[in-house]
């Protein structure tokens, strides 16, 4: 099977390891670019959200590059993302690409489909024991990647040279990529973290603290959000991201898990609304309680759960005094625009902080 999959942050390092070691040929589509986007836009429904369009473009580039199978995650609503795979497949077929689409539905909701799809991933050259071994390494890689990123966000605002910290981090990604067993991954991770900690920082600087919330794909894939975390880090802001792929935060700085987040959301939104909507509410409350200076909500244009969340944000700002900025992203959103809005938001937060200090 010549298989490909969408980019999402750095996760391709773990996913490609998994697929390659199960005996598949991995076709790397180019990382998403302007071209990917315009290709995706051309073949997607006009009001599909941005992630749909970028994935569409990615798939088209992948099949052009020779992929005959694609894997992606599924879901059962009420957010649209769960239907993406199905519709992508139909559009591809309609365009004359007979690709196989392995939609990994949540195992509990569709045990049979899950089993069948995993099985077709495992076969023919691999065995279940090998699958287990490889899967564990891949999982460990994912966790290591998350940990590296967490540290990067902490250090970037303090680093004397922003360029140096970014370079060191990227070198660390390479260590993780090269590691071929659980213990090697752990070693690689320690080495990478150590390298990063060795980068000189300015300890006296207290950065603004901003929490990032929103829909998972636009939060995790830098191409879609104009690398907002780097943008902010370079401006000297500490960003804490609410979502990591392994759902695991280094120091539990934000919360003790999903349950807490839900509980915090309930006074404002006592209902799961799909996607990440209810979480967005809960996380904002938690960031406020933890003394963060502000929250940035990232959402694809027309993303319903985030619209529901957004409409409730002003009330949280009023109750808890935490400014929230919502960025709805679509193909027209330019980097310059994001930067300007970001700067304005930072000014607001700085002013607020100065006022508080004056008191």
């Amino acid at each position: 099977m010549k298989i490909s999959f969408p980019y999402m942050g750095t996760s391709h390092i773990a996913i490609s390891y998994l697929l390659e070691n199960l005996g598949h040929e991995v076709i790397y589509p180019p990382k998403p670019t302007k071209k990917t986007l315009s290709l995706g836009v051309q073949h997607s429904p006009e009001f599909a959200c941005l992630p749909f369009k970028i994935l569409m473009g990615t798939y088209l580039e992948a099949v052009e590059a020779g992929a005959d199978s694609l894997t992606t995650s599924g879901g059962f609503g009420p957010c649209r993302a769960g239907y993406y795979g199905e519709l992508h497949k139909r559009i591809l077929h309609d365009m004359g690409y007979p690709v196989k689409m392995l939609v990994l539905e949540p195992p509990l909701m569709a045990p049979l489909t899950f089993y069948r799809n995993v099985k077709s991933l495992v076969r023919p050259t691999s065995s279940w024991t090998n699958f287990y071994r490889v899967f564990r390494v891949a999982w460990e890689k994912l966790r290591a990647l998350d940990e590296l990123e967490g540290l990067l966000h902490e250090l970037r605002p303090l680093a004397v040279s922003k360029q140096q910290i970014t370079k060191t981090y990227e070198r660390g990604l390479g260590y993780i990529d090269d590691a071929g067993s659980v213990s090697k991954v752990l070693e690689a991770k320690d080495a990478a973290l150590q390298d990063m900690r060795a980068v000189p920082v300015d300890e006296t600087f207290t950065p603004l603290k901003i929490g990032i919330i929103g829909e998972i794909y636009v939060v995790l894939e830098p191409f879609v959000n104009h690398d907002i975390e780097k943008m902010l880090g370079d401006m000297g802001v500490y960003v804490h991201r609410s979502i990591f792929l392994t759902n695991w935060t280094k120091d539990n700085a934000v919360s003790n898990g999903e349950k807490d987040i839900r509980a915090m959301a309930v006074p404002y939104l006592n209902q799961l609304v799909g996607g990440h909507g209810q979480n967005s509410i809960g996380e904002t409350v938690i960031y406020a309680n933890k003394g963060f200076d502000g929250v940035i909500q990232l959402a694809p244009f027309t993303c319903i759960p985030e619209i529901v969340a957004k409409s409730i944000m002003p009330t949280i700002t009023r109750d808890k005094g935490i400014p929230v900025m919502t960025l709805f992203l679509d193909e027209q959103t330019g980097r310059a625009g994001v930067e300007t809005r970001m700067e304005a938001f930072l000014d607001l937060l700085k002013e607020k902080r100065n006022k508080q200090e004056a008191i």
Partner: protein, 325 residues
């Protein structure tokens, strides 16, 4: 006690159930005015600008009602068929409204989730009823009456009537005239959410216009539950939203049935689910039939004239194809 019901969203599905129910509880039912520009403008002011047109309109309806009633009926509709949920905006509706519009009266925001059990609808009504009276017998009687009226309503729709045609018959108890379906006229399936199709303002008078052209119109509400359910098995994976699924299934039904000459899909501007729904119908139509399909997207600036021209051209095309013109 005056209960306010906005004339949008689930109104066209459930009004004949809620009205006799609340009246049976001794309340007076107040319905918001028919959608109009002022209502929409008001709603646009109150809602996040990223919301879809129907949600903006709802906010307008609520604003129009809020000073005229003692209590607002805005239940949290989670699932109406025990399987799928409604669009997330329905799920978050009471919260959205509460945080967007100030000085609201009390809200009945009870949750209706038929995933819980088959009788959840009646349990839900019972819970709502208890806010009005302690007399359990009276609540049961109100539910019974409402149920009766509701099942009549559903029959009238299946009979081919639109809600606007059915409502007066429910009041008067009359039977519908046997619709004079002219055999040689063209028949169009008009697909879309009840709150888009049956709201004359939102649909810019589409149904009326088609009827003026002598077109026989059928909608998703005119397909029986049984037929819809059959269609739900034809797709490898169904959508997740109640109203969207019904639109897709109805489309499937009419495509297979081959009794319609064309289909029009009315989609709401800014509607998340519709982006998927529309493409799905398009692909189904392309794969399975020769039936022409036209999509109309409705937003707050849609002009009546623009839609009229497109619809006329489409109808002419179908007539020519059928050799009527």
């Amino acid at each position: 006690m005056r209960v306010g019901i906005p004339m949008t969203l689930s109104f066209f599905t459930f009004y004949p159930l809620w009205k006799p129910f609340f009246e049976g509880l001794g309340a007076e039912v107040v319905v918001s005015p028919i959608s109009n520009k002022a209502l929409l403008d008001e709603g646009v002011k109150e809602t996040v600008n990223d919301a879809c047109v129907p949600i903006k309109l709802l906010h307008g309806h609520v604003s129009a009602l809020k000073d005229k009633v003692d209590i607002l009926f805005l239940p949290r509709l989670v699932s109406l068929d025990g399987k799928n949920t409604l669009c997330p905006k329905f799920l978050g509706l009471p919260d959205m409204v509460r945080y967007s519009i100030s000085e609201l009266p009390e809200i009945i925001e009870n949750r209706l989730d038929m995933k819980k059990s088959r009788f959840e609808l009646y349990r839900f009504m019972f819970r709502v009823g208890q806010r009005f009276t302690d007399n359990k017998l009276q609540i049961l009687r109100a539910i019974w009456q409402a149920r009766y009226n509701f099942s009549r309503y559903r029959k009238l729709l299946l009979h081919g009537l639109t809600p606007a045609e059915a409502f007066p018959l429910l009041e008067s108890g009359e039977e519908p005239d046997k619709a004079a379906e002219t055999g040689d006229a063209i028949k169009l399936a008009v697909l879309g959410y009840p709150y888009a199709l049956y709201d004359n303002y939102v649909s810019v008078g589409l149904l009326k216009k088609l009827k003026e052209h002598g077109v026989n119109v059928v909608t998703p509400e005119m397909v029986s539950e049984k037929d819809l359910k059959k269609m739900s098995k034809t797709l490898p994976k169904n959508l997740f939203w109640y109203y969207s699924n019904r639109v897709v299934w109805a489309a499937q039904h009419y495509l297979r049935d081959q009794t319609v000459d064309g289909m029009i899909h009315v989609t709401a501007f800014g509607c998340g689910p519709d982006a998927m729904t529309n493409r799905l119908i398009e692909l189904e139509a392309k794969e399975n039939s020769q039936i022409p399909l036209m999509s109309i997207t409705i937003d707050e600036h849609t002009g009546e004239a623009g839609v009229a021209t497109r619809v006329e051209a489409f109808v002419d095309l179908l007539k020519r194809k059928k050799g009527i013109l």
